[in-house]
Symmetry: C2
């Protein structure tokens, strides 16, 4: 496979950044991998696990001589990190990110880079587990998963090509869409379910405290699966919810409407209306189930075993 | 192991009834197993799979000479089925059910049995998958899972002992609680998550139709896991929602409150409030995660593999 970078900077050597580095190293398509981060302890773990060759806590030192940068940091910090790196980056270096929200990130990065915005192209690799940090990185976390790439009007053709090549080298299926379309879709299929899962866990905890004797002790099976995503990092999700606020509120309003419809049917004891809503959901959900059969069995089994999921 | 019945009637040879029969037969603790059902096709599957020895579609024929009956039918049909069987059951035969809602079922069965109510004790084996029917039954579905038993004031001591012995023989951990307490707890940890999952799938489908370009096509990872329960039987869940309506509405109100709190914080861009809600959920959810470590690893892995879940 063709080398995708001689010196790659991973800014934020967490679950995604670390897994990307492991995948690229396993395929021998990168030269030196430089890890940039704030936590010395996390960088130590990354070095010990062979994720990075060199750890830096100073952006300018990390950027020197690099030809590719991936900012896999919380969405609110992507633009400032890009700004700090850009000062010392060679002029041909290309930059991408791994944020779960795209429109505000792309806009902020373009503001920061100004006339140099052509070297940036936004990305969202759809992968993750409820764990975080370099210790949780896995060489095959990204393999076979989708990566949404959101080039803007200012993105240079070379940048776009190199960002495609990067994710493909890590085994991902790359797909392009406008940043705004990405944000609407992921508000629905990712951010909304997370809001609901967090709210559900809190509702059960509230009831538990208000006398529903040890309800949480019986929270097994479906509830446990359903709310696993509520064990994810509060800071990361707070930032995602804030960054994608407008689309998320729109998605929440749609959810409130379908929830209310079901609630009314239950309150009225209207079995026909309840069955109507449930059948519609079952039909939709079964269609999704069938679609997942497209993922090769071997991959699916491995994913199930480590409960990996998209954000 | 001690024999728990010479002639066992399984009324409703579906996922739970069928799995129970398979478990009891594997351990050699039952004599003849009679399957009672309305669908000739499902009963044929049950016979072909060796789940039952004999298939009956007439309750009186099924009941004759039986000493133990498990009604694993939709909650609304449990009391009528008990009534139909009771006419032909020997006086020492004991009856239980497998319904996911207990107070209304127990009350209805007690009304039907009248002075004979001492032979009944309600049960709720906490197990399931999103599949149904005899074809989906598994010999180890119940193994290591909890079974809630809800004896009433009228339940005879012998009945209670035999119902305990039944579920324990299938490998379950039996626990007792009042029917009303059961219904409040399962409204929160099972019925509410199902309502939310059905509503979520419908909300995404609505948005998909209203122009959020192919949102469903991106419904991978978390969303897929999260909503797997929405693929469950609409009829079964309609009946559960109707039967446990009062407790479910109370649980839904609690959920609306926590959802609204999070929505307001997002609308106001209040990062501190969002982080507060998310951290509370994460802490609660992580406590549950730790508790699940009590399940032996071997069992847990097998369950993960077939994605079994409680109702």
């Amino acid at each position: 496979m063709k080398r995708i970078a001689d010196r790659l900077v991973i800014a934020g050597v967490g679950l995604i950044g670390g897994s990307l580095a492991l995948a690229l190293r396993a395929r021998g398509v990168v030269g030196e991998v430089v890890g940039l981060g704030r936590s010395a302890e996390n960088l130590r773990v990354a070095r010990r696990r062979g994720i990075i060759d060199r750890a830096e806590r100073d952006p300018e030192r990390a950027a020197r001589g690099a030809d590719l940068v991936v900012v896999a940091a919380p969405v609110q910090t992507i633009a400032p990190v890009v700004g700090a790196l850009a000062r010392a980056l060679p002029p041909t270096a290309v930059i991408t990110d791994a944020g779960s929200v795209k429109s505000p990130v792309v806009a902020a990065v373009e503001r920061v880079l100004g006339v140099g915005a052509g070297r940036f192209c936004g990305s969202h690799p759809i992968a993750g587990t409820e764990h975080s940090g370099a210790a949780a990185a896995l060489p095959d976390l990204l393999e076979g998963r989708r990566c949404i790439v959101t080039p803007g009007v200012r993105t240079a053709a070379t940048t776009r090509r190199r960002v495609h090549a990067l994710w493909e080298a890590a085994g991902m299926r790359v797909e392009e869409m406008p940043a705004a379309v990405h944000d609407r879709i992921f508000a629905l299929v990712s951010h909304l379910p997370h809001v609901a899962a967090f709210a559900l866990v809190n509702a059960v905890a509230d009831a538990d405290r208000q006398g529903a004797r040890h309800a949480l002790a019986y929270a097994a099976g479906g509830f446990r699966d359903w709310t696993r995503i509520a064990a994810s990092s509060p800071e990361m999700w707070r930032d995602i919810f804030l960054a994608n606020g407008a689309e998320l509120l729109r998605a929440l309003d749609g959810f409130s409407a379908t929830l209310e419809r079901l609630r009314d049917a239950i309150a009225l004891g209207d079995g026909v209306a309840i069955a109507g809503e449930l059948t519609r959901a079952q039909t939709t959900r079964r269609r999704l189930g069938a679609a997942s059969a497209a993922v090769p069995g071997r991959l699916r089994a491995r994913r199930g075993a480590r409960r990996s999921r998209g954000r």
